[in-house]
Symmetry: C2
Subunit: 416 residues, 2 copies
């Protein structure tokens, strides 16, 4: 019997049950080009590209360089079998009372206009290493490569929610102001029955929000590592909200109850650590928009440059909420004096005008001394700037302190 349903049928989506860790099967994970990555963990596969690859590839990160963040095995989903379930839960209504509708991937790919958005995704844990150096943190100890930029295509979520879930388009509607959209993946993860997350309904319905359901990345069908067959792209937000392997969309009066919305991805206050963390989750808000960030990708810490010529320092900068990068300043004396970078390249979305994609910048530095500390900092269009020093938080998220590179050695090419 076919699992395909007509959109208007009222049906129940499959219910995921949490698996024991020992039942997690990673044998069907896709093959990967490991040479591009610093692999932090094989199961689940978590890897960030080497920093120079990020800037040398140009504004669009090739798919096989894009960072990979997983919480479980990559599900093996068949395009023709996959269904996306959409429902609305009103105030006080039980989960069982929700009327679901199902869309096939063919529906997703043909019923609405295909939007194309260039957007960077950044893990909230990017640069966690800088906080781990201050005090023990919980999480993958990411360096600064847990960010990448790609071109994503698929229907706008606002169109689907309007047509299938009857969500009003008027941004002044009370529902838009108070509701959330929860996403669930068709996967199994260590922490919960499946990966899940939510965003405010306002973000989903805002024509300037540019939230899409992407089935293409860089002009090709999504790869399994990046969410095949369908993922949410929530530009301007932390990567955790761009749920992969999308299976369920629920419009509801509260945030997702998933572990990843309620027990993770929050900037816990500095007085919260492993001893008292359970007291803090419910009083700490979930992360949404990214903060302003800037990183030097090349040269790297302790790099030896065998060339007497000026060195081109390169890196990325980004802010959240569609805010532009307005200025990048570089110091080669540990922050005593600053100069503008030579060039900042950033392109707004061609329809909404929002800045969802990172800026790449570069600056020629005449000579790097072994005593030079190279520091970078950026301003965004809200006048926010990165803090000079990192502020520790237990989950090690949102570290956007000034980025520093030390111990670069520049010397002439030795005689061969």
């Amino acid at each position: 019997m076919s699992t395909q349903h007509n959109t208007l049928d009222c049906i129940q989506p499959p219910v995921h049950k949490k698996k024991e860790l020992c039942d997690m099967d990673y044998s069907q994970d896709p093959p990967r080009i490991l040479s591009n990555y610093l692999v932090h963990a094989p199961k689940p596969f978590n890897a960030e590209p080497h920093l120079p690859l990020l800037v040398n590839a140009g504004l669009i990160t090739p798919t096989d360089v894009f960072f990979k963040r997983n919480h479980g095995p990559i599900p093996d989903i068949q395009l023709e079998d996959h269904q996306v379930y959409i429902g609305v839960q009103s105030h006080g209504q039980s989960d069982a009372g929700v009327e679901w509708k199902a869309l096939s991937m063919n529906d997703i790919m043909t019923r609405w206009p295909k939007a194309t958005i260039t957007a960077s995704l950044q893990c909230a844990g990017n640069r966690r290493e800088g906080l781990a150096q201050l005090k023990e943190v919980k999480g993958v100890i990411w360096k600064a490569g847990t960010i990448s930029n790609a071109v994503w295509s698929g229907p706008r979520l606002c169109d689907i929610l309007k047509d299938i879930a009857g969500v009003p388009q008027d941004l002044h509607n009370e529902m838009i102001r108070n509701y959330h959209v929860s996403f669930e993946a068709d996967d199994h993860v260590k922490e919960d029955a499946c990966y899940g997350s939510s965003i405010p309904l306002r973000k989903a319905m805002d024509p300037l929000g540019d939230v899409i359901l992407a089935y293409e990345m860089n002009g090709q069908p999504l790869t399994r590592d990046h969410g095949f067959p369908l993922r949410v792209i929530v530009p301007g937000y932390i990567g955790a909200r761009s749920v992969k392997f999308l299976q369920k969309i629920l419009v509801q009066p509260q945030e997702s109850t998933s572990f990843f919305q309620r027990r993770d991805y929050k900037i816990l206050p500095p007085w919260i650590d492993s001893s008292n963390v359970d007291t803090a989750w419910d009083t700490t808000v979930s992360l949404g928009e990214m903060n302003v960030q800037c990183v030097i990708c090349t040269p790297m810490e302790k790099e030896v440059i065998l060339c007497p010529k000026p060195v081109t320092v390169k890196g990325y900068a980004i802010s959240g909420g569609g805010r532009a990068i307005y200025r990048v300043e570089l110091s080669v004396d540990g922050g005593k004096t600053w100069e503008p970078v030579d060039k900042i390249e950033q392109t707004p979305d061609k329809i909404s005008g929002m800045y969802w994609a990172w800026a790449l910048w570069e600056k020629k530095v005449p000579k790097i001394l072994t005593t030079s500390e190279i520091v970078v900092r950026a301003y965004d269009s809200s006048g926010n700037m990165q803090p000079e020093f990192p502020i520790w938080n237990y989950r090690g998220v949102m570290n956007n302190a000034w980025f520093r590179v030390n111990n670069v050695i520049q010397m002439p090419q030795p005689n061969m």
Copy 2:
């Protein structure tokens, strides 16, 4: 002959000519309650309320406590004579080619629904004093009171621009993405022919942008000091964009050419000072959204508290772009250890859900030692936080470094 025109007439608005400083007449300025204010300059009148008044009045600042920022004499405008001129300039079109339409104040007050927005205005120069202590800056040396919160009422600018200027409502329209709305005041100022400024057209047309033309403040007609008979309210932006004494609205492909858009209100880079400032204006972007800010209003520096009981530390916090204040942290040891404040009060707009109004916060501190440095810092909903130390810029704008209060003396009431 009446100066009233039918809306559909094509007419020319009056052209302001720059006045010599010696011709500025301040004799018609309104009377003021000076005791509420620290007056920085009488002509033009620039004054900020004493900090404790700001928090003790509650979330809404009384009109006679609200800070006053002027660039020239207060114009003496008659409600029944005042006209607001609205035009659209297309690419390459000369100023003379613009077709203007005029609205009377009666039109403004009756033809569109009256929206009511509670929004804080903050001068970009708030806390300039903190930057002046580092190096010479240009501008009024404001302390931390150049911010206030009021209830504003009037029509939405998006409605007027749609009906009178034919601006499309579709936020994906190319014009929305690329154009600006310039405002000019019916006044005379020192720096230019009149006060002027602009905002992106997208901000004006966004239903979540909440830009209004206000003729009421705190339920009363605007006072002359606050822009009678009509001012723009651009919530979430620096105060400089909320133009008072509004006379002209021009939709155009570029930012306002006013001094106040092009030669002021920019975060100049730290290597720019009075010696080279002319090289930097055109390459430095204009300010729009506010950054994240937090200030202790009471106790004040060097305050003597004659009471042995716990002291309630109070202050405000705000961010730009409608972003909420998510956390306020207080330290009484100069930033070594932090605690949450006891209470944060902030209310989103009841229609759009955006956070345009400041948060007021307070915390009981058991005892303040003479050696205590009280420090506060806030996080907003984009995960941005204030910088620990101020970064100097020549115009002394957007200083949002951690706010510090020293030399508070707490002692028992002396025997009488």
